[in-house]
Amino acid sequence: MTVFVLRRLVQTLLVLLITSVLVFGGLFMIGDPVEILVNPSADQIEKERATKALGLDKPLHEQYVGFLRGALSGNLGNSFVYARPALEVIFERMPATLELAFLAMVIAVVLGIPLGLYAGLRPHSPLAKTIMAGSILGFSLPTFWVGLILILVFAVTLGWLPSTGRGPTTNVFGLQLSIFNWDGLRYALLPAINLALFKLSLIIRLTRAQVREQSLLDYIKFARAKGLSNTRVIGVHLLKNILIPLVTVVGLELGSVIAFAVVTETIFAWPGMGKLVIDSIFQLDRPVVVAYLLVVVFMFILINLVVDILYSVLDPRVRLSEVKG
């Protein structure tokens, strides 16, 4: 276990290093941030001064070494646009993205597992077929377009929910979160549903497939033969076994939800780190883009690690030492 975690950590550092080299090198080939940052009427001298101030006059490898040196002390450079540490800017926006991703995942799980369970247990009923057809639709709907339709229907036409922005926040353990008050939740609802739709379809399909596979196995037959009630067979025996793959997928999908929030946040003008990175790409705010990617990559690796550990807890047959590190 310790060896496993340690090996993962070394690997994490390696992946982070490679990511930083690739992204750093790639981003620094494009455009000139100074052109965007300085006043359009600025003369050559002013531009040169700005270039020097941002450290862009040095050759690429020197800039990278400077970046690495800063990174070792937890400083990923200053944002060109905000003139503050890039990490600080990102961490400020992170709670907004995380609460959105979390809410979306909750919606997907709370609706997806029961629907998938039903579709798996009664595969030939009309309702099950409707659910499955709906899940294909959910897979096929482009997320960003659904976002627009949600705004059109619920905000513009019906006027039930606000269309864009984030509502009032409450302070929860030092984090500014909006889902703990009704007004804030109203703002979060549309983007969260938008983000949840694809994952909902995925969870429905996965649950159904698992239920159908597991229902045929001996332990279910045995449980039924023992005369256990239907509720107990499904609720305890079946559910426990289909949870194992579900936990993996839900965990891994959490990372993809955070990444996909880029799209949803742009549509709903949700001030999270996804919108931040899109804005930063267009403003050529390189330090923020690099820092965002490193933060997200780190989060992914962390999520993967937690999922692997959870997996071994849920399924005693899995030994972490055997899992490829």
């Binding site: 992204v23 377009w145 799209v263 790409i281």
Partner: protein, 300 residues
């Protein structure tokens, strides 16, 4: 004369069996029909579109943002309305479909070829090469496609060729993984051993024997991936990172309507979205059935 028709022993060719099994699902047939229509429309766009949406001389700014069904000064009816530049939406969608399909299919074919060769080679050669390839695949699949494509396009810039490069980069790993696992199964079968015993070269065995026999799962992954690629391209274009405005795909058309959506001018975003949805839905319906038919584990 009155010959008794003796039924010949029915021997189904694999192709016949495939067709019969595929046709068992009505939903899949609907999807297939829809797909044929979509592809036909995309191919025939220049001949069936009421207007050439790229010909700026034909556009009249006075006709900008007309609702569906409005009539132009020259008597033409805008069945799906017009966009901000007075462009007929129906024509723009037909041409946009062309771009979307082209990008999706081209990137899919390139990624499949690349991924399949790498994957099969990894399975055949094993050892160091396999380890390195699979590690890269693992790491890449650990990251969501949208993020990788986003950064790539931020670096590469806009353009059809660039978005294809980005889509190939995010897709090849899926094919490589699928091809490798399919080839691992095939590798130990007798015909490969026979080929080896005949002294055939590695390339010949990989390309002529392993690859063709590893194809069915690749086709299944391929259909799903093409649908993904089309959706991903639309998403990236919507974010302003995909195609240049001179070649509007469906995603870009939807983006153009985003600004006026709040004022109730829904048609500029909604109709291209419907076209996109129908395309992806058709591919997914076909892909779903293909998976069931081509899956050897589901004994039928």
């Amino acid at each position: 004369m009155s010959a008794v028709v003796v039924p010949a022993a029915v021997v189904e060719t694999p192709w016949q069996r495939f067709r019969r099994q595929f046709a068992e699902s009505r939903l899949a047939l609907i999807g297939l029909a829809l797909l044929v229509v979509v592809v036909a429309i995309a191919l025939l766009a220049p001949w069936i579109a009421p207007q050439n949406p790229y010909d700026l001389a034909k556009l009249d700014l006075l006709d900008a943002r007309l609702p569906p069904g409005a009539t132009a000064a020259d008597g033409m009816t805008y069945w799906l309305g017009t966009d901000g530049q007075g462009r007929d939406m129906l024509s723009a969608i037909l041409y946009g479909l062309r771009v979307s399909l082209y990008v999706g299919i081209a990137s899919g074919v390139i990624a499949l070829t690349l991924g399949a060769v790498i994957g099969v080679l990894a399975a055949y050669l094993g050892g160091r090469f396999e380890q390195i390839v699979m590690r890269i695949v693992d790491i890449q699949l650990g990251f969501p496609a949208i993020l990788v494509a986003l950064i790539l396009l931020a670096v590469l810039g806009k353009g059809v060729d660039k978005i294809i490069i980005a889509l190939v980069t995010v897709q090849w790993a899926y094919y490589a993984r699928t091809a490798r696992s399919a080839a691992l199964v095939e590798r130990h079968k007798e015909y490969i051993e026979a080929a080896r015993a005949l002294g055939l070269g590695a390339w010949r065995i990989v390309l002529r024997h392993l690859l063709p026999n590893s194809l069915p799962p690749l086709i299944v992954v391929g259909t799903v991936q093409v649908a993904h690629a089309i959706a991903l391209e639309a998403t990236l274009s919507f974010l302003g990172l995909g195609l240049p405005p001179t070649e509007p795909s469906l995603g870009l058309l939807i983006a153009n309507g985003y600004e006026v959506l709040m004022s109730g001018k829904y048609w500029i975003s909604v109709y291209p979205g419907v076209a996109l949805l129908l395309t992806i839905l058709a591919i997914n319906l076909v892909g779903d059935q293909l998976r069931d038919v081509l899956n050897p584990r589901l004994s039928r």
